[in-house]
């Protein structure tokens, strides 16, 4: 035992210990049976349940995407009717946005990792956390009820008057579903903000917070500030359909552009809800596999918050051609360019982290490189779309489709895959097959670019988005794109195969297979029900790769039993002695 003095002269006992390599009691063995899982308040199990649900919707929406691409093989009808086509692309978009991208990183991986990175036993409100999962499920049920009521073909944005004129029963159900789903997002955000403020283990000061936490913090702030606006918008839209109150529908005296303002006031920040947590994962993975301290810690941490802030001021760039005033359009265009700055800061800092690092090309790192490549293309094409004169030409074309697939799939999903592979050993206690992991990563890279690069070209040449038929000159592009989507589909099946297989026959994972300095890797794999055997005292920063591995053992708070306010109990490394 050794004693350490903190700034306000509280004495903390610090003991060093190593995580056990063969944990006998883990969160997976703690309680068994379906009922125990369904009623669990453990953030790790809830994270896994979210992961399964997200994977289910991803598979469903991905299957729809492949059906859509198959339909576009020929200029006219290939195998589905035009109306069905409209419903399928609407469903693909709505599911991917609301059921996959928004909850994927924060609610699935974030739920698992956040308390562990903070050295906490759970999130601040575990029961709310479980409630948010069930709210998500109820939202999904509403969407399926909508499908049973002739579905909806308004596009995922539910613009009026499409959404108030066509098939209102299906639209009512799905909009109520999205309304409900919003609360799941709000609860997760509220939970995370409180947890980060109040439940940090002793020693975790704000400058020792992992960048993943900073990213999740910025995300939660957006979730809390933007999602309620979507909720009220969608509620008004439902009332428009149920009661005809006439706020948005021009036929009833309302204003459709008002709807677009309301909708994008949420939905533009929402794209940052999707991508910012991805940035967090990239920061974690890139340091671990470069064996190097992150370059520009504060620049990356604060640029997440800057993105969250500026992200609220750019919604009008979705409406350049909707008839908003020329002044507003110019201001929104300028503000849109500003978002590029913090994003660029991040990319440059990540690349600088790689510089002179000892890079280990494991699967998660491969996804980081894919991310850097694809997301940069997505970002630059976003700047082009933010330029007014260019946007007049490119709006509502496949160029836009390609752009948001490069940022959302090339950005968020690649980060999600990086994080999934990175934390898989921690979550399951098993190693996935590295060879198959690398093969599928390469296949995804090839398939992705084959699918979406041609879409930039045909978009620039004038192919409108959402069209069922097209003129013959676009056929080669569409066909390349379709073949690419098959390669993507195959790659995801390989991932599914080796991940599921690793659960049953996978090699046992050690506590810290990547030699990471992160706090979550100081727990056993898989972790104990309470995450750590003892409330940890954090002595080192999460990216201190310049220190030898044996210094990365946890302190143990005895006297104060690990109070959650890092700043009151800061432990100075230089004052601790070896036990």
């Amino acid at each position: 035992m050794a004693a350490a003095q903190s700034k306000n002269m509280t004495t903390l006992q610090v003991k060093r210990f190593k995580p056990s390599e063969n944990p006998t009691n883990t969160y997976l063995t703690d309680e068994k049976g379906v009922w125990a899982w369904m009623t669990t308040v453990d953030h790790k199990k809830i994270g896994l349940m979210y992961l399964v649900a997200v994977a289910f919707f991803f598979a469903l929406a991905g299957f729809l995407a492949i059906a859509l691409r198959t339909e576009l093989w020929t200029p006219a009808k290939t195998f589905i009717e035009a109306d069905t086509y409209n419903q399928l692309f609407t469903l693909h978009g709505a599911m991917m946005v609301f059921f996959v991208l928004v909850p994927s990183i924060p609610a699935a991986l974030g739920n698992f990792v956040l308390p562990m990175q903070l050295g906490a036993k759970d999130v601040a409100f575990p029961r709310l956390n479980l409630a948010s999962f069930y709210i998500y499920v109820i939202g999904a049920v509403f969407t399926f009820i909508s499908l049973a009521n002739n579905g909806f073909d308004t596009g995922w944005t539910f613009y009026t008057p499409y959404s108030s004129d066509t098939n209102s029963l299906g639209v009512i159900w799905v909009t109520l579903g999205v309304f409900i789903l919003g609360f799941s997002s709000i609860l997760t955000g509220t939970n995370f903000i409180t947890t980060i403020h109040k439940l940090r283990a002793p020693g975790i000061t704000w400058d020792k917070l992992p960048l993943n936490i900073w990213a999740l913090y910025a995300t939660s702030v957006i979730q809390v500030l933007a999602t309620p606006v979507l909720a009220i918008t969608i509620l008004l839209l439902s009332m428009e359909n149920i009661l005809d109150i006439g706020i948005f529908d021009p036929a009833k005296g309302g204003d459709p552009v008002l709807y677009q303002h309301f909708f994008w006031f949420y939905s533009h920040p929402a794209v940052y809800i999707m991508i910012v947590p991805g940035f967090g994962i990239i920061s974690e993975v890139i340091t671990t596999f470069s064996k190097k301290h992150i370059f520009g810690y504060w620049a990356i941490a604060l640029s997440s918050l800057a993105i969250a802030f500026i992200g609220f001021l750019v919604w009008g760039h979705h409406m350049f051609t909707s008839g908003q005033s020329a002044v507003a359009t110019t201001v929104f265009s300028f503000l849109t360019f500003l978002v590029g700055i913090p994003t660029g800061i991040k990319i440059l800092n990540w690349v600088a982290t790689l510089y002179k690092g000892s890079i280990e090309m494991k699967t998660p790192m491969l996804y980081v490189f894919i991310f850097l490549f694809l997301f940069t293309i997505g970002g630059f094409t976003g700047i082009m779309l933010g330029a007014l004169s260019v946007d007049i030409h490119l709006h509502d074309t496949y160029y836009v489709v390609a752009h948001f697939h490069y940022v959302m799939m090339g950005g968020t999903l690649m980060a999600l895959l990086a994080g999934l592979h990175y934390w898989w050993p921690k979550m399951t206690g098993k190693m996935y097959n590295e060879t198959l992991g690398k093969i599928s990563a390469v296949l995804i890279f090839i398939g992705f670019n084959m699918t979406f690069l041609p879409q930039f070209v045909m978009g620039a040449q004038g192919m409108p988005r959402r069209y069922y038929n097209y003129i013959d000159q676009f056929q080669p592009f569409h066909q390349t794109s379709t073949i690419g989507s098959y390669i993507l589909g195959a790659a995801f099946l390989i991932i599914l195969y080796y991940l599921v297989r690793s659960l049953f026959g996978g090699e046992k994972a050690s506590a810290n297979p990547w030699n990471s300095r992160g706090l979550e890797w100081q727990a056993t794999s898989p972790p104990d029900f309470h995450n750590f055997d003892h409330t940890p005292v954090v002595i080192n920063g999460p990216y201190d790769y310049h220190k030898p591995m044996e210094e990365f053992q946890l302190g143990l708070a005895v006297e104060h039993n690990g109070h959650g306010h890092g700043e009151h109990h800061e432990v100075k490394t230089d004052q601790t002695e070896k036990a």
Binding site: A124, L225, V229, L243
Partner: protein, 221 residues
């Protein structure tokens, strides 16, 4: 947990270190939720501002149909209930469980008075055919006073704003009944009254929103 302190009081959940941390977390969580609520209502206020800017004469005309007297009574009732909920928290802090229950009961009663008055206001308007959206079917006398062609939009906004606010009042009543029952079972003391405190915060916000709704809808000229 090896160091799961045996001195943990029963009300402290397993993942908190102590009572203070739990109390502060709950309070902060509620504040974040209130920020949420403000943005939620913010959308409605925004719709109000836009339509009022477009049709200023409609708003002054339509506001005459609303009953200032009963709206004013309701405002006083809600402000009074905010006072009693604050007194309930004070009683809890001073470990006066009887005072806590009495104050909760008065708050519940005042909230119910608010809803009853609101019910009669709604009922009167619906009787005159001043209903939202497609149910808009005013009597000829009303149509004479309210000749504006977009009159139904004002009432669409009115019903949405007061309706969503009314739902919040109902939720508040539910929460306070729950608190009243728990207080009766002896769950609260000066050591632990977190649910009372954060329900109080919620109730003040519901009150505050009404304080904005009342002049914006009833008192414009």
């Amino acid at each position: 947990m090896a160091n799961h302190s045996a001195s943990h009081p029963a009300h402290v959940q397993h993942h908190f270190v102590d009572s203070d941390q739990q109390f502060e977390s709950a309070k902060m969580g509620m504040w974040v939720f209130l920020v949420n609520e403000i943005l939620f209502f913010g959308g409605l206020f925004c719709a109000y501002i836009v339509f009022r800017a477009w049709y200023p004469e409609l708003f002054t005309q339509a506001a005459l149909e609303l009953n200032k007297l009963w709206g004013g009574v309701n405002t006083i009732v809600l402000i009074g209930s905010s006072l009693t909920v604050a007194m309930a928290i004070r009683s809890a802090q001073k470990n006066q469980i009887k005072g806590l229950r009495i104050n909760l009961l008065i708050t519940i009663a005042l909230a119910c008075v608010f809803m009853v008055i609101k019910y009669f206001e709604y009922e009167h308007k619906l009787h005159l055919g001043i209903a939202p959206g497609s149910f808009w079917n005013p009597t000829p006398e009303i149509l004479e006073e309210l000749s504006h062609p977009k009159a139904n939009i004002f009432f669409g906004i009115y019903y949405m704003m007061t309706g969503v606010h009314g739902l919040h009042v109902l939720v508040g009543i539910g929460l306070m009944i729950w608190l009243y029952i728990r207080a009766g079972k002896g769950h609260f003391s000066s050591e632990y009254y977190t649910p009372v405190e954060i329900t109080g915060l919620y109730w003040h916000l519901v009150d505050l929103i009404w304080i904005f709704l009342f002049p914006l809808l009833y008192l414009i000229e």
